[in-house]
């Protein structure tokens, strides 16, 4: 019990209304109601948070201010000299930048075709948002479901702004991905006879969410990581790529790696390069807390963009409806959507439900912002912010005692550490910055708009339109990670070792920054977030 006497008093209203809410479904919104709440309350519709980028291939495109700041920045290596004619430190077929789920999948797939692969990653191998994805992974592998049905959910959830060919690749590869993971010994929740146990997520029309308790991403990540190590693939940790190197014809040909511990730069030459660097929650758009890991600072987007890769939907950000709000140590922490999937509902200060609990994430978040903002029915917290309740004890009433311990062990433990028992006490939640819907534009081969440069995972854009559904990101990283790995390896077999390595793209980017004054002395990519309070 960490709730203050005031909160405990307010919690009584939740307990009072609970019996009348059991088994009663709150109505879903109509399309018009959805559009209305999004336009009025979703942060993406508030233009104050954006500006047009002044340089590069998408000049004039709208971006969150914090993202534009890291894009409009000078290279870290601007004043350094590199001998690109000398033997490079690493010389490989395929360079994978990023050691999360997408990078690991890409590395495994490229390696399986015989390519010489190097994985360079900023933090530890596996320090990635993949590790934190709790809720599940979608795939249409039940008799009442088909990839086409999954496709409709993906497109509708993405406001029909998805690139249809990318959504097609996502859903058609999905069962293949689950099969691949099953064969690799990932421990999915199953019935005794082997059938995967699947449930709903926000915006799904079939129960196709596969889970590994509420450690789904962690289970996938540690399995993939173990397999990469089994295969003896070279993984260099604490060595972020800070710039892409191009060849004499402007094709990707490697990267500059920066050893965070020795502070030395190293050159990696590669016939093909895969950017799998993930998202950007640590840029804290509009001051939101984030559910993202320590390294989510948009580095790959920045280097890819400087090398000439186009972006898509850079202005589309996902706020997860249920971020932790209290106790303060849990601020921004992801409360998995599986919690709502199991029946927990959001409630206002009066203990009343105000939105169907499984609307798509954009709509659900906007409804929570409206409840606190326009309607003034948020729960005031001692920390000065507002929140709404998420009635987790309902889960035990609906599915029986012990369900939370079995199905949500991570959530239970995390709140218990700070003395909240979510089996008996409702959680306090508020939207948290969760996902970058857009990214670098790819085609269904995971190829970017720069030759020999591939992109996979959260760094890629177009798959999810302007709103991603739960369970489609774990899917996306593996689908496009494998496609990137396979295609980058195939391409590397067709081409010679690149020649005429250069940084001319940086010179012209810097020139543009100088001419427009947009750079303002900033250096990028960010590499590490700064939380030093002094």
């Amino acid at each position: 019990m960490v709730y203050t006497p005031q909160l405990t008093e307010l919690m009584k209203k939740v307990e009072e209304t609970r019996p009348s809410r059991v088994g009663v479904d709150f109505p879903r919104m109509t399309q018009e109601e959805r559009r209305d709440v999004l336009e009025k309350f979703h942060p993406d519709y508030n233009l104050d948070g954006f500006r047009e980028i002044k340089v590069g291939v998408n000049k004039g495109a709208r971006m969150p201010i914090e993202m534009a700041d890291v894009f409009e920045a000078y290279s870290r290596i601007r004043d350094l000299k590199f001998d690109l004619k000398a033997d490079p430190h690493y010389d490989v077929d395929v360079l994978v930048i990023g050691g999360g789920g997408a990078g690991a999948s890409a590395a495994l797939e490229a390696h399986s075709t015989g390519a010489d692969v190097l994985v360079a990653t900023k933090l530890r191998f596996g320090d990635a948002n993949t590790m934190m994805a709790q809720g599940g992974i979608q795939a249409a592998d039940k008799p009442n479901d088909t990839p086409a049905t999954h496709f409709l959910d993906v497109m509708g959830g993405g406001r029909l702004e998805n690139v249809p060919e990318l959504a097609r690749a996502l859903v058609m590869d999905a069962p293949l991905v689950i099969k691949w993971l099953e064969d690799l010994g990932a421990m999915f929740d199953k019935k005794d006879e082997g059938t995967m146990i699947t449930g709903h997520g926000g915006g799904t029309s079939r129960k196709r969410m596969h889970t590994a308790r509420d450690y789904t991403g962690a289970e996938i990540m540690r399995t993939l990581r173990d397999e990469v190590l089994n295969k003896g693939i070279n993984v260099v940790e604490f060595s972020p790529a800070v710039e892409i190197i191009l060849d004499e014809q402007g094709r990707a040909a490697g990267a500059v790696l920066y050893n965070l511990e020795t502070e030395q730069y190293e050159i990696a030459r590669a016939k093909t390069v895969i950017i799998a660097t993930g998202g950007s929650g640590r840029l804290h758009y509009r001051g939101f807390p984030t559910s993202n890991h320590h390294g989510a600072t948009a580095d790959g987007l920045v280097l890819g963009y400087r090398a000439g890769a186009k972006t898509i939907y850079a202005d589309s950000i996902q706020y997860h409806p249920t971020g932790g709000a209290y106790p303060p140590q849990l601020l921004g922490l992801l409360v998995t959507e599986k919690t709502r999937g199991l029946g927990a509902t959001p409630l206002n200060i009066n203990g009343e439900q105000f939105v169907y609990h499984l609307e798509t994430r954009d709509v659900e978040s906007s409804a929570i912002l409206r409840e606190c903002d326009e309607r003034g029915l948020g729960v005031p917290l001692p920390t000065g912010i507002e929140a709404v309740w998420l009635d987790s004890p309902l889960i035990e009433i609906i599915h029986g005692e012990g369900t939370i311990e079995r199905q949500l062990p991570a959530m239970l433990r995390q709140f218990q550490r700070f003395d909240v028992d979510i089996r008996k006490e409702p959680m306090l939640i508020f939207p948290t910055l969760h996902y970058q819907n857009g990214g670098l534009l790819i085609d269904d081969d995971a190829h970017s708009t720069v030759e020999n440069l591939y992109v996979a995972g959260e760094a890629a854009g177009g798959i999810h339109g302007t709103n991603r559904l739960m369970g489609n990101s774990l899917l996306d990283i593996i689908v496009f990670g494998r496609r990137a790995g396979r295609n980058a390896a195939a391409k590397s077999r067709e081409i010679p070792v690149p020649e005429g390595l250069n940084f001319e793209h940086l010179d012209s980017y810097h020139q543009e920054l100088d001419n427009t004054g947009a750079g303002d002395g900033r250096i990028g990519p960010m590499v590490l977030p700064h939380y030093t309070h002094r």
Binding site: G185, R222, D226, H533
Partner: protein, 221 residues
């Protein structure tokens, strides 16, 4: 505000912070010892002792609140061994496991691992299950492991529990848990191109048509 001692140096930090936030508050730029910041990745294993006390305590820096008089240091990396194996070549048997991780059979039963596990896992028990060849129980009991390495740091028998557990889980999932038969059929159907026509119709459909189909789609109860 409370006083904490990071690697022996004193800093004043607000008492509401986690160890991780407190280190940043004190001025540290985190590189190692920090990963997901949410209790899932095991990067921030921390060892501490309270002023005047002798007992070594442990926790994840992102999941543990600071307390007055905490003397702390992080374990940035632990050189635990991982056995390389081909999952298709090994089987869930004691004989195979003994070749990969012979040290698990040297467990002294001291329970040091249990005392330091930040996830409160009964580590010693799952090692016992592995010794016995009960990979199903080992997989289930070890499932919530974050691979932070604190158990390994304290084990007098030099067991690398988290790697042994991961191998046990992969063996269980690959060979003991039954495969999903319908999944295999569906994957085969996709590879044979049997589902192409249905989806290609949707890929080619215009937005209006898609919106209509989406709005009227049937939702499974």
């Amino acid at each position: 505000m409370v006083d904490i001692f990071i690697m022996g140096k004193r800093y004043k930090v607000p008492e509401t912070l986690t160890i991780l936030d407190a280190m940043e508050y004190a001025g540290y730029q985190m590189i190692r010892g920090c990963g997901c910041r949410a209790g899932f990745c095991g990067a921030c294993a921390t060892v501490y002792r309270m002023a005047g006390g002798y007992e070594l305590l442990v926790g994840l820096a992102c999941q543990t609140k600071v307390e007055d008089g905490m003397y702390l240091a992080q374990i940035p990396f632990f050189p635990g061994r991982k056995a390389q194996f081909d999952l298709e070549e090994i089987k869930p048997s004691v004989a195979h496991f003994a070749q990969l991780y012979p040290e698990v059979y040297r467990c002294l039963g001291c329970s040091s691992c249990n005392k330091v596990c930040p996830q409160d896992i009964d580590v010693m028990q799952y090692i016992a299950y592995i010794q016995r060849g009960d990979f199903e129980k080992a997989a289930d009991l070890s499932f919530d492991c974050l691979m932070c390495g604190l158990c390994v740091s304290r084990c007098p028998a030099n067991i690398v529990h988290y790697n042994a557990a991961l191998t046990a889980r992969r063996l269980y999932s690959r060979y003991i848990a039954k495969p999903d038969r319908f999944l295999a059929e569906r994957a085969q159907a996709i590879e044979n191109g049997e589902l192409d026509a249905e989806i290609d119709k949707l890929v080619k459909a215009d937005k209006e048509k898609l919106q209509e189909l989406y709005n009227n789609r049937e939702i499974e109860k």
